[in-house]
Subunit: 365 residues, 2 copies
């Protein structure tokens, strides 16, 4: 590591990011799919440029703000993978006048409102709920799908690109087999929809995209988290620990020998409060990894971020790790959920010492 | 409300903030205490100015960054309520050259390092752990306390201000009686320490400060969350719902009648993933309140933020609330943990339409 940290710092291993991108690209190519990766995970202009634009059909984001951000770096086809918020119509009109902007639609009323208020053509996908229960028309509800398809096709302002589906319940899986068992019937249902409605399907959770080899009739993929992965993804079954491309480095400020605990500067405003469960019971907030001069190695058994408050973190660890770690050392911690940690940290430092941007960069006051 | 929101917005009721401050001040005055309120909750220059500086002994923050931030607005006595991080020594020296900077000390080694590296006098408190198990010397460990006191008093660079104690385990309480039962023996122990070591005590969790009337031998208070309170504090027993001074306003983007659920724009990057538990079991992330034209009223029974992902939120609600709420309406949600929500949102809008700053304001890209 070419720099010494003095406060919580989000490290990024560029080579791991490139490897993760390359692996997903090979799968996309092998299956003859279109690729619209989700940029909500990294939210970074510089990391966006690590993709070869000629290999992408476009990109995906989760808010209009992110679409505006990436459009400024020349991205010309952007899906906002969120049901259209008609209150943002002025910004939608503005952005859609200069790029191929796409968004999600879940009801006929919004189609009618858009028809009245759009000043330019906007692309849309019908969002399908594959049983996740978050958003979209349930894929069994053929009547609603048909009505919405007809309404969109009757609109002069909307261009229908097909179905969009996020199977977020894949995050409940705890093995490759569980991911496959969940994803297989979803892929079949989506393939049936494709045939029944003659519309292409865009599909995209990281667990399914990471472990499936056969995507049936699906035409586009839009996973996001795979660029970094994180500790929870290793438990879901999406990746191995050595694929995790970001890690927090936090200074040790106190040692408490009676309880084998280290106090670090690094809390909820750095990691987020997303958690994993030990054996299904107690919460924890990150996994300690070997620190090889700022490059992280294997996860360290029984060494983890036990609790966090706003700025404080408590590392519970083995006798050995406790004894070898001194005050002012850095502990390297694999985040539970890299998207949220990156959003909070607002920038990255690569393991070779380069600062990388993030949309959520804080103002310097 | 003098403005219409189109995306997730953190609302602030200035009068409630002023009332909360006034109530705590009256308690401080009645008990003849010094007051060093914790500014980590609001992290705002403008809200800091709502305090009358003549009534404060100083302020408290949780990071050196916050101390630097508030020193620029003329705050002259600031405690960084975190064990000294020697890696930040250059910034400490710089800041301590212009203000009365105070920090926490938990071990003799750090005293020795500070003695060698400080270029100016810095104030310190010995941090005492009252059984919370996060940081500090346990209050039964008189030997370590005595050694540290002696080391600090032998130092030419450190000025000892007394003991600092945060009883964060008060957040596990679920009634006023439980808070009192936890706090009473702690106050007694701290009073004993005061007498035994002839050192004043600064004490400060919001639950204890909100419900106790007698602070024994304690000399200073430093609560933070009380300026805003939040939904979890109503369950802890610290406040009533009408004292909560901040609330999120989020647009409804879709309705799912089969499950009485509303999809809002408002997720983990807005609320944080801090949660409360329904009857000790399922997690939820916020409580819906009546929306009286942008001013929040009573909490609405059985209407809550059931789940959140990065940008999505799902409101589970009653038939009645479901029927009366339309797409593009705003739902007002009391946050579980106001400190983290404010940190994520990076700014406030008052209910009379004024924008208020926050240290974590994002850059406009």
């Amino acid at each position: 590591m070419n720099f010494k940290i003095s406060s919580p710092t989000l490290l990024l291993d560029k080579q791991k990011v490139l490897n993760n991108i390359q692996k997903m690209l090979l799968k996309v190519e092998k299956n003859g799919l279109k690729f619209r990766p989700h940029f909500k995970t990294h939210q970074s202009v510089q990391i966006g440029r690590w993709f070869d634009r000629t290999q992408l059909d476009g990109i995906t984001v989760s808010s209009l703000k992110m679409a505006e951000f990436f459009s400024k770096d020349g991205w010309q086809s952007i899906t906002v993978a969120f049901p259209m918020n008609i209150l943002e119509i002025d910004r939608v009109n503005n952005l859609a006048s200069s790029i191929d902007l796409r968004t999600l639609i879940v009801d006929v009323n919004t189609v009618n409102k858009l028809d009245a208020k759009l000043t330019t053509v906007v692309g849309v996908y019908i969002e399908i709920d594959p049983g996740y229960g978050r958003s979209g028309i349930h894929f069994d509800d053929k009547t609603s799908i048909e009505s919405l398809k007809e309404a969109i096709q009757s609109s002069k302002k909307l261009e229908l690109h097909g179905f969009y589906c996020h199977a977020g319940h894949s995050y409940q899986s705890r093995s490759i087999e569980e991911i496959r068992a969940l994803a297989k019937p979803i892929i079949e249902q989506l393939s049936n929809l494709k045939v029944a409605f003659d519309l292409p399907v865009c599909f995209g959770d990281t667990p399914s995209c990471s472990v499936l080899e056969d995507f049936g009739e699906i035409e586009e993929l839009s996973p996001g988290n795979f660029v970094f992965y994180d500790w929870i993804q290793t438990h879901i079954g999406s990746c191995t620990p050595d694929q995790i491309a970001v890690a927090m480095a936090c200074p040790v400020v106190a040692k408490y020998e009676s309880r084998n605990e280290l106090l670090i500067h690094g809390g909820a405003v750095h990691f987020s409060k997303d958690f994993d469960l030990h054996q299904g019971s107690s919460h924890y907030f990150g996994q300690v990894a070997e620190n090889n001069g700022g490059i992280w190695g294997d996860p360290m058994k029984d060494c983890y971020l036990k609790s966090i408050s706003q700025e404080h973190g408590i590392i519970k660890c083995t006798d050995e790790f406790f004894q070898q770690t001194k005050i002012s050392d850095s502990v390297i911690i694999l985040p539970i959920h890299s998207c949220l940690t990156a959003d909070l940290m607002g920038q990255y430092f690569t393991t070779d010492g380069v600062t990388i941007d993030h949309l959520s960069e804080k103002m310097i006051k």
